[in-house]
C-alpha cells in the first residue's frame, strides 16, 4: 500500500513454479528470462532454485518469484513443497520428446488437483530451435505443417490439449530466446488482479499476513486490500 502511493506502477509479487521432466529446459527458460542468458552447464537444481525477475506490464509491475524445481523423477515428491501457494506454473515439455509431454500432462493434472485453486498454468514446449519451424515465421500456436525434423510433438496436439485444460500455450526456445519473455508476460497478464497483492518491499507492513490474504484472494474477487493496492 505504501508502494501504491508513490510508484508509477503498482508492483505485485507472483509466485511461479516450474515443473516438468528432467532436461526439458526449465532452468534454461528461467535463466533466459532472468538473465537473458543461455548456459550449457549449470549446477543441477537440488530441490529447487529460487530466482526473481520483474515483468513490466502497462498497468503494473509483476515481480516473479520463480521456483525452478529439480526435474529428476525422484524429486517429484518434493514438488508439493514448491508449488504450494503458487499463483502461476510453467509446465515445460521438450517438443522433441513425446514422453515429456506425458509427464507435463501429469503435472498439469497434479496442479489442477493439488495446487491453489485459480493457479495460472502455462504449457510450454521448449527447444523449438531444434525443429525446422523455428525460423520464427509462426507466432504462438500455429499448426506446423512440416514436422520431418527433431520435433516429435506437434503444435496441434499440445495446443488442443492446452485448450481442453484451459492452459496458456507456448512453444519456446530458451537457446534463442524465442517466445520466452512472451510466456512470462502472458502469465503476468493472466493473473487475475484480485489475486495480486502489493509487493513486499523491505518495509512492507503486514506482510506476515500475506499468505492468508493470498489464499483468500485466490478464491474470490472481493478483497479490498488488493484492489486498493492496484488502484492507481
Amino acid at each position: 500500500m505504501a508502494d501504491s502511493a508513490g510508484a508509477p506502477r503498482p508492483s505485485s509479487s507472483v509466485k511461479l513454479v516450474l515443473l516438468g521432466e528432467a532436461a526439458v529446459g526449465k532452468s534454461s527458460l528461467v535463466l533466459r528470462f532472468v538473465n537473458n542468458d543461455f548456459q550449457e552447464n549449470k549446477e543441477p537444481t537440488i530441490g529447487a532454485a529460487f530466482l526473481t525477475q520483474k515483468c513490466n506490464l502497462p498497468q503494473r509491475t509483476i515481480k516473479f518469484e520463480i521456483w525452478d524445481t529439480a526435474g529428476q523423477e525422484r524429486f517429484a515428491s518434493l514438488a508439493p513443497m514448491y508449488y504450494r501457494n503458487a499463483q502461476a506454473a510453467l509446465v515445460v515439455y521438450d517438443l522433441t520428446k513425446p514422453t515429456s509431454l506425458i509427464k507435463a500432462k501429469h503435472w498439469v493434472a497434479e496442479l489442477q488437483r493439488q495446487a491453489s485453486p485459480g493457479i495460472v498454468i502455462a504449457l510450454v514446449g521448449n527447444k523449438l530451435d531444434l525443429t525446422s519451424d523455428n525460423a520464427g515465421t509462426n507466432g504462438e500456436g500455429e499448426a506446423a505443417g512440416g514436422d520431418e525434423d527433431a520435433r516429435k510433438v506437434s503444435t496441434e496436439e499440445a495446443k488442443t490439449y492446452a485448450e481442453e485444460e484451459g492452459l496458456l500455450f507456448f512453444e519456446t526456445s530458451a537457446k534463442t530466446g524465442y517466445n520466452v519473455t512472451e510466456v512470462f508476460t502472458a502469465i503476468a497478464n493472466a493473473i487475475p488482479e484480485t489475486s495480486l497483492k502489493s509487493a513486499r518491499g523491505p518495509g512492507a507492513a503486514g506482510a506476515a499476513g500475506r499468505s492468508e490474504e493470498q489464499r483468500v484472494n485466490l478464491n474470490g474477487p472481493r478483497d479490498p486490500n488488493a484492489k486498493e493496492g492496484c488502484a492507481c
Binding site: 549446477e43 543441477p44 537444481t45 537440488i46 529460487f50 518469484e65 525422484r74 515428491s77 500475506r210 492468508e212
Partner: protein, 1132 residues
C-alpha cells in the same frame, strides 16, 4: 477399506525387524549387532561375538622402545569386543545388550565422549594384528600385548628398521578366568581366520596417504597414494589460511604415536584434531576411517574396479541421468572442468548405481561425490558413498527421498523446540523451512557453504554422524535469527542465508575490542554454536523424532505416489472410477507389502531357529541386515511387481471365486512354492500370520487364474505391474459391455490367438465358468427364482428342478454350453466334415455327438485324476485304458445313459467293460484325429443363447471383482458352500465323501462322475474310478504331447501329493489342485447333466440319488470343508 498404513501398523506390531534405515521399530529396540556395527562403523557382516571388560594401556609417546614406562602410558577402561574379523575397544560401556535401546546407544554417537566411532579406543581388523602375547600381570588374570601391522604399507626393505617402532598395546582383561579364556579362544580363532586377509589389508593400506606421510624422508621418492583431485588441481582454499602444514605436522605426530589408518588408536586428541579441520591430504583417509567405509573397502578391495569392469559398456537410466549432471558438479572447481575429474566422477557414480540399483543416481549425489573426489581416490569415494547411502544418511537419495523428507520434518521439530520464536515467525509468515534447509542436508552443505567450510562440516559429520547436519543447521538459524525474523517470505529468507554463507570467513565480531574475539570467524562461531549450544542434539533425540514423524512422512509420500501412479495408469484406467483405482492401488501394494512382510517374518523365524539350534552364528545374524520395512511404497523401490502367487492373493482379496475351497489348516504347506522351506517350517506355528497367505483366505490356484495372469502380463515378464492389473481389470470391469466381456473371455482361452478355441479350450472355458460360479453368482441375474443362498443348498437340492436356485440353474447352463459348443464347433479337418454336418442337422437332439461330448469333457480332464485313481485300480488296467483310447468314432447310444444304466450293476468288471465300450463309442468330439474348434462368433452365439450365461457375462462376472469394498470376512470364509455339481450332490456326495475320505490318495476334490455312479450302485466308487480312469488314461495318452508344459506341472503336483498324505490336510499346492479337481469333477458331472437334460432319462434312472438337478453329481469334495458340510447335510 484397505489402507496401506494399517497394514504397516499391523505388520509392525508383529515384526521386530532389525536395523535398517533407522526408521523402523528396531530403532526403539535395535539389535545388538546393529548397535555394535554403528558404534564401531563396521560393515553389516560383523557381529559382536565376545565382549569383556578390559583396560587398554597405550604406551606413552616416543617411549615405544623400552618397557620401563609401561605403567605410565595412557590408560582407558572400557569394553573389548570381538566380531568375526575385528577387535574393537571402546571406553564407553557396552551398548548392545539385548535390552539396549537407542537411548543407551546414543552415548556412542553423542559428542566426543563417545563421539563417532566409539570414543577412545580402536577398531582393529584382526588381520592387522601381528602378534598377541600373554603377559604376566599382578592386577589382572589376563593381560594381552597386541602388536599390530602398523606400517605394513611400507616397503619391506625398511622393515627391520621399522620393527623397533612397532605398535604395541596392552590389554588387561578383567573377568573371571573362564570368561577370559573363552574370549582368548575366540580371539585366537579370529586371528587365524584373519591371516588370510593380510594381503587385502596391505592393498587397502597402501592407498592411504598416511603410509606415505610417515615414510622417512629418504624413502619419499615413491609416488604418494592418490589423495584426490586436490593433488592435481590444488585443494580448495588457501593452505596458508587453513594452516594446512601445521595441521599436517600435528597429524603426523599423532599418527606416529597412535598408529595410522586401520591401526589407529583413538584418543581425545584425535577428536580435537578433527574439530579443527583435517589437513588436505589426510582428509580423505580420515573420512573413510571415521565413516567406516575403509572397512567396506577392506572387505572387498576390488569391488569398485570389478563393478566397473563387470558393467562396462552397459547402459541404464541412472547413467543417462548421471551424464546430464557431470558437467555441472562443483563446476567452479578446476578439477571438474577437466576430463580427469569428470571421468572420475562418472565412474564413481556409475559404479555405485550398479551396486545399488535401488538408489541408482540421485541429483545431489553428484555434488557430494565431487566433493569427496577432491580428497580421495575413486575407490575410496565409492565406498564412502556406500557408507553414506546405507548408514549415514539413509533414504536421502532413494527414489522417494523419504530420508530427506523425514529429516526435514525432524529438523523442523528441532527448530520448533529450540527456537520457538523463530518457529512462530516462520509459521506466521508461511515460510517453509525445508525449502531452505533441504539442500543443506541433501548435499551435506557442500553447495550451500563455500567449499572450505563445507568440508569442515563434513570432517565432523563423518566422525559424529548425521546429528551434525542438524546441529549445524540449527546453529545457522540461531546465528541469523534476528535477520530471519525480519524476513517474511521464502525469497527474503533465502537471501538472508545466502548472504550469510558468503561471509562465513569474515570475523564474527568485527567490532570487538578484543583482537582474539575479532579473529574468530563466522564459521568458527558457527561450529561453536553448533556443538556447544546444540550439544543436546544427539543421535537419540534425532532417532526419536524420526520415529515420531516417520509415518506422516511416509504417508505423504505414499499419497503422492498413489496420486501420481493412478494418474499415470494410462487410458485404460479411465474405464475405472477413481475410487476403484485408488482401491486397486491399495490392494496391489497392500498385497505386495504384506507378502514381503510375511517373507521377512519367515526369514526371521528361520533365523531364530537357526540360532536356537546353535547353527552358525554368522548365518543367523545375516538375516538381520536387510530387515527393513521392505515393500512400503514410501521407502522407495522395493518391488512393484506382482508375481503369480501374489496375484492369486490379490484376487482372493476381492473375488470370492479366487479363494481356495480348502479351509486354512495349520498343516497346510506350499510345496509348489519356491521357498517351501521357509513356509514348510512355518506351518508348524499355529499363528495365522505365519501361514504363507497371512491372515487372509487362501487363494485358489485354478487354471483360469493362470490364464488371467498370463493375459494381463502383457510384457511376458512373469510379473504384473499395477498398470497391467488396471488394464486387465478395466477390460473386464470397465466397459460393462457384454460383448467386450465375452470377447475377453474367449481371448483368454484362445491360446495362439488365431481366433479359434479347440476342444481342450472349450473344456477349459467351461471349467472356468464353473470355477467362477462355484461360490454363487453375483450381479444382476435373471429376475426369476429366488437367489437362494448357498447355505440352503441342501434344501434346494431336495427340490425338484423347478425350484432350483439361480446358481444351480447356472450349472445347467454351463452344461448346455458345452453341449452347444461341441454342437456348433467347426471341424479343423475336412474328414470331420460329415460328422459336423450331421451334428448341425441333429440340432439339440441328444445325439451321440452330444452325448459323447460330455465324455469328451470328462476325458479332457486333466490326468491328475487318473493318477489318483490309478492307485486304487487293479494293476494291468492301464493297458486296457490305452486300448480304449483308440478312437473309434463309432456312433453309439448315449454314453451317459449307458453308464447310468449299466451302473445298476455293481460289478467292477462290468464297469470296466462298460467303460471300454464307452470309450470306444466316443465320437468325433473325442477324436483327436478329428480336431475341432469354435470361433468367437460361435462362442458368442452359444453364450447369448442362454439367458443365464448372458447375464453372467453381462453382469455377474464383472461384478465379481469387488475392487473397492473387497470381500467381507463372511464371504471370504473358505468353507462357505460352493455351487458345483459336486456340492449339489446328494447322498452320493456323502457316500463318496466318506468313502474317499478314507481312501488313500483320493481325498481331493469332487469326483462327480464317480459320485453319480455311486449314487446308483452301492460300490459305485470302484466302478466310477474305473470308468474315469480308463477314459482319462486314454485321454492322457492322447494329450501327453499336446500341452507338455502344463501337464508336467500338474504331474509334479501329483507326485507330491499322492501317496503320502491321506485325509484332508494337504499341501497348499495340493489344495489348489483340489480346487481345480473339484471343478473338473463337476465338469464330469456335467456330462451326466447334459445327458439328463437331453434324454430325460437320467432323473428317472437315478432315482433318489439326484432329485433336484440333473447335472449334479455327488462328489467328494472331501478335502475342503465344503465336502464335509455337504456330506453331513445329506447324511442319511
Amino acid at each position: 477399506m484397505l489402507n496401506l498404513s494399517s497394514f504397516v501398523q499391523k505388520a509392525q506390531q508383529l515384526l521386530d525387524p532389525t536395523q535398517g534405515l533407522n526408521l523402523s521399530d528396531p530403532d526403539r529396540n535395535p539389535s545388538k549387532a546393529s548397535l555394535f556395527q554403528s558404534q564401531f562403523r563396521l560393515p553389516s557382516s560383523q557381529h559382536p561375538l565376545y565382549e569383556i571388560t578390559a583396560e587398554l594401556t597405550i604406551p606413552p609417546a616416543n617411549a615405544t622402545q623400552g618397557d620401563k614406562d609401561r605403567d605410565t602410558g595412557f590408560r582407558y577402561a572400557g569394553k573389548l569386543h570381538i566380531s568375526e574379523s575385528y577387535l574393537c575397544f571402546s571406553t564407553t560401556g557396552s551398548s548392545f545388550l539385548q535390552s539396549a535401546s537407542t537411548t543407551t546407544s546414543s552415548i556412542f554417537t553423542g559428542q566426543t565422549h563417545g563421539g563417532g566411532p566409539s570414543g577412545n579406543g580402536f577398531t582393529l581388523p584382526l588381520c592387522s594384528i601381528r602378534r598377541v602375547e600373554r603377559l604376566h600381570s599382578q592386577n589382572f588374570q589376563f593381560a594381552l600385548a597386541i602388536t599390530t601391522w602398523n606400517g605394513i604399507g611400507q616397503d619391506d626393505k625398511g622393515k627391520e628398521k621399522k620393527d623397533q617402532k612397532e605398535q604395541r598395546i596392552t590389554l588387561q582383561l578383567a573377568a573371571p578366568r573362564v570368561t577370559c579364556e573363552r574370549f582368548c579362544d575366540g580371539l585366537k580363532k579370529g586371528l587365524r581366520a584373519g591371516v588370510g586377509n593380510v594381503g587385502k589389508l596391505k592393498k587397502v593400506v597402501s592407498e592411504c596417504y598416511s603410509e606415505y606421510l610417515l615414510r622417512p624422508e629418504d624413502k619419499k621418492n615413491a609416488t604418494p597414494p592418490d589423495a584426490g583431485l586436490g593433488m592435481m588441481f590444488r585443494y580448495p582454499g588457501d593452505p596458508k589460511k587453513l594452516r594446512d602444514r601445521a595441521k599436517m605436522r600435528l597429524w603426523a605426530e599423532y599418527l606416529r604415536d597412535n598408529g595410522r589408518n586401520v591401526t589407529l588408536l583413538r584418543q581425545p586428541t584425535f577428536h580435537k584434531l578433527i574439530r579443527v579441520g583435517l589437513p588436505n591430504r589426510l582428509r580423505g583417509e580420515m573420512w573413510e576411517l571415521t565413516s567406516g567405509s575403509i572397512y567396506l573397502r577392506l572387505e572387498n578391495p576390488t569391488l569398485y574396479a570389478d563393478t566397473l569392469a563387470k558393467f562396462s559398456g552397459q547402459e541404464s537410466l541412472a547413467i543417462d541421468e548421471i551424464e546430464k549432471d557431470l558437467n555441472r558438479s562443483l563446476p567452479e572447481y578446476p578439477g571438474f572442468q577437466s576430463e580427469e575429474g569428470i571421468g572420475r566422477l562418472r565412474r564413481v557414480l556409475t559404479a555405485y548405481s550398479w551396486v545399488n540399483p535401488d538408489v541408482g543416481y540421485c541429483q545431489a549425489m553428484n555434488i557430494v561425490v565431487a566433493a569427496l573426489l577432491i580428497y580421495m581416490s575413486e575407490a575410496q569415494a565409492f565406498f564412502l558413498l556406500s557408507a553414506l547411502c546405507d548408514r549415514l544418511v539413509p533414504g536421502y537419495y532413494s527414489t522417494t527421498m523419504y530420508g530427506t523428507l523425514l529429516d526435514q520434518k525432524v529438523f523442523e521439530s528441532l527448530v520448533e523446540r529450540t527456537m520457538p520464536i523463530l518457529w512462530d515467525h516462520l509459521v506466521k509468515s508461511d515460510v517453509q523451512l525445508s525449502v531452505v534447509s533441504l539442500p543443506w542436508f541433501l548435499s551435506l552443505y557442500v553447495n550451500s557453504m563455500p567449499l572450505v567450510f563445507a568440508f569442515r562440516v563434513l570432517d565432523v559429520f563423518f566422525v559424529e554422524g548425521p546429528k551434525v547436519l542438524f546441529q549445524v543447521g540449527l546453529a545457522i538459524l540461531r546465528i541469523n535469527g534476528e535477520e530471519l525474523l525480519d524476513a517474511t517470505d521464502d525469497g527474503a529468507f533465502i537471501s538472508v542465508l545466502k548472504s550469510y554463507f558468503v561471509r562465513l570467513d569474515e570475523s564474527a565480531h568485527p567490532k570487538s575490542e578484543n583482537p582474539k574475539l575479532r579473529a574468530v570467524t563466522r564459521f568458527q562461531e558457527l561450529m561453536v554454536v553448533a556443538f556447544k549450544e546444540f550439544s543436546g542434539i544427539t543421535h537419540s533425540s534425532i532417532t526419536e523424532l524420526r520415529l515420531k514423524n516417520k509415518d506422516s512422512v511416509l504417508n505423504n509420500i505414499e499419497n503422492f505416489a498413489k496420486r501420481t501412479a493412478i494418474r499415470n495408469l494410462g487410458p485404460d484406467s479411465k474405464l475405472l472410477s477413481t475410487e476403484e483405482l485408488g482401491a486397486l492401488y491399495d490392494r496391489f501394494y497392500g498385497v505386495l507389502y504384506e507378502r514381503q512382510q510375511r517373507d521377512l517374518i519367515i526369514k526371521q523365524e528361520q533365523a531364530r531357529r537357526a540360532k536356537s539350534s546353535r547353527s552358525r552364528i554368522a548365518d543367523m545374524a545375516s538375516s538381520h541386515d536387510q530387515a527393513v520395512e521392505k515393500g512400503r511404497v514410501g521407502l522407495g523401490p522395493s518391488t512393484s511387481l506382482m508375481d503369480y502367487d501374489a496375484f492369486r492373493e490379490f484376487l482372493a482379496s476381492m473375488s470370492k471365486w479366487a479363494i481356495s475351497d480348502s479351509p486354512a489348516t495349520p498343516r497346510r504347506e506350499t510345496f509348489s512354492d519356491a521357498d517351501k522351506g521357509f513356509y514348510g517350517s512355518l506351518t508348524k506355528r499355529p499363528d495365522a500370520i505365519l501361514s504363507p497367505w497371512g491372515a487372509g483366505p487362501e487363494p485358489a490356484d485354478h487354471e483360469f487364474l493362470r490364464r488371467l495372469f498370463v493375459k494381463w502380463d502383457v510384457s511376458s515378464s512373469a510379473a504384473l505391474t499395477l498398470q497391467n492389473v488396471v488394464s486387465g481389470l478395466a477390460r473386464i470391469k470397465g466397459k460393462r459391455d457384454i460383448m467386450g466381456t465375452i470377447n475377453y473371455f474367449f481371448e483368454l482361452h484362445d491360446d495362439n490367438g488365431d481366433g479359434k478355441v479347440d476342444r481342450e479350450g472349450i473344456l477349459r472355458m467351461s471349467e472356468a465358468l464353473l470355477f467362477l460360479s462355484r461360490r454363487g453368482l453375483e450381479g444382476t441375474l435373471s429376475p426369476a427364482n429366488s437367489t437362494l443362498t448357498l447355505s440352503t443348498m441342501g434344501d434346494g437340492s431336495q427340490n425338484d428342478v423347478s425350484g432350483q436356485t439361480v446358481n444351480e440353474r447356472f450349472l445347467g447352463s454351463v452344461s448346455a454350453f458345452i453341449r452347444r459348443c461341441f454342437e456348433y464347433a467347426d471341424p479343423d479337418h475336412p474328414n470331420n466334415q460329415p460328422a459336423a454336418t450331421q451334428r448341425a442337422k441333429v440340432g439339440a437332439e441328444p445325439t451321440e455327438d452330444q452325448l459323447a461330448s460330455p465324455d469328451a469333457f470328462a476325458i479332457g480332464d486333466d490326468d491328475d485324476e487318473d493318477d489318483l485313481l490309478a492307485m486304487d485300480s487293479p494293476p494291468g488296467s492301464p493297458k486296457a485304458a490305452k486300448r480304449a483310447a483308440a478312437p473309434t468314432s463309432q456312433h453309439a447310444p448315449s454314453v451317459g445313459r449307458d453308464s447310468l444304466s449299466t451302473a445298476t450293476s455293481a460289478d467292477p468288471k462290468d464297469r470296466r467293460r462298460v467303460s471300454k465300450a464307452h470309450s470306444e463309442r466316443a465320437n468325433i468330439a473325442l477324436d483327436p484325429s478329428n480336431p475341432l474348434h469354435i470361433t468367437l462368433p460361435t462362442f458368442r452365439m452359444v453364450v447369448l443363447a442362454d439367458e443365464l450365461l448372458e447375464q453372467f457375462f453381462e453382469s455377474s462376472f464383472p461384478s465379481s471383482f469387488h475392487i473397492i469394498e473387497g470381500l467381507s470376512s463372511s464371504s471370504a470364509t473358505p468353507s462357505s458352500s460352493l455351487t458345483t455339481f459336486s456340492s449339489l450332490g446328494l447322498g452320493a456326495g456323502r457316500a463318496v465323501g466318506a468313502a474317499l475320505g478314507g481312501a488313500p490318495g483320493a481325498p481331493a476334490g469332487g469326483r462327480g462322475l464317480r459320485g453319480v455312479l455311486d449314487n446308483i450302485v452301492t460300490d459305485g466308487m470302484r466302478v466310477a474310478q474305473e470308468v474315469v480312469r480308463r477314459m482319462e488314461e486314454a485321454q492322457k495318452e492322447l494329450e501327453r504331447n499336446a500341452l507338455p508344459g502344463q501337464r508336467n506341472e500338474e504331474d509334479e503336483e501329483e507326485d507330491e501329493e499322492d501317496p503320502i498324505t491321506p485325509g484332508a490336510g494337504k499341501s497348499a499346492a495340493y489344495r489348489g489342485d483340489a480346487e481345480r479337481r473339484s471343478v473338473r469333477s463337476s465338469d464330469r458331472d456335467l456330462l451326466m447333466g447334459a445327458d439328463a437334460e437331453a434324454s430325460d432319462v437320467a432323473l428317472g434312472a437315478t432315482g433318489t440319488g439326484r432329485p433336484s438337478v440333473g447335472p449334479e453329481g455327488s462328489n467328494g469334495n472331501t478335502s475342503g470343508g465344503t465336502g464335509k458340510v455337504v456330506g453331513v447335510e445329506f447324511e442319511g
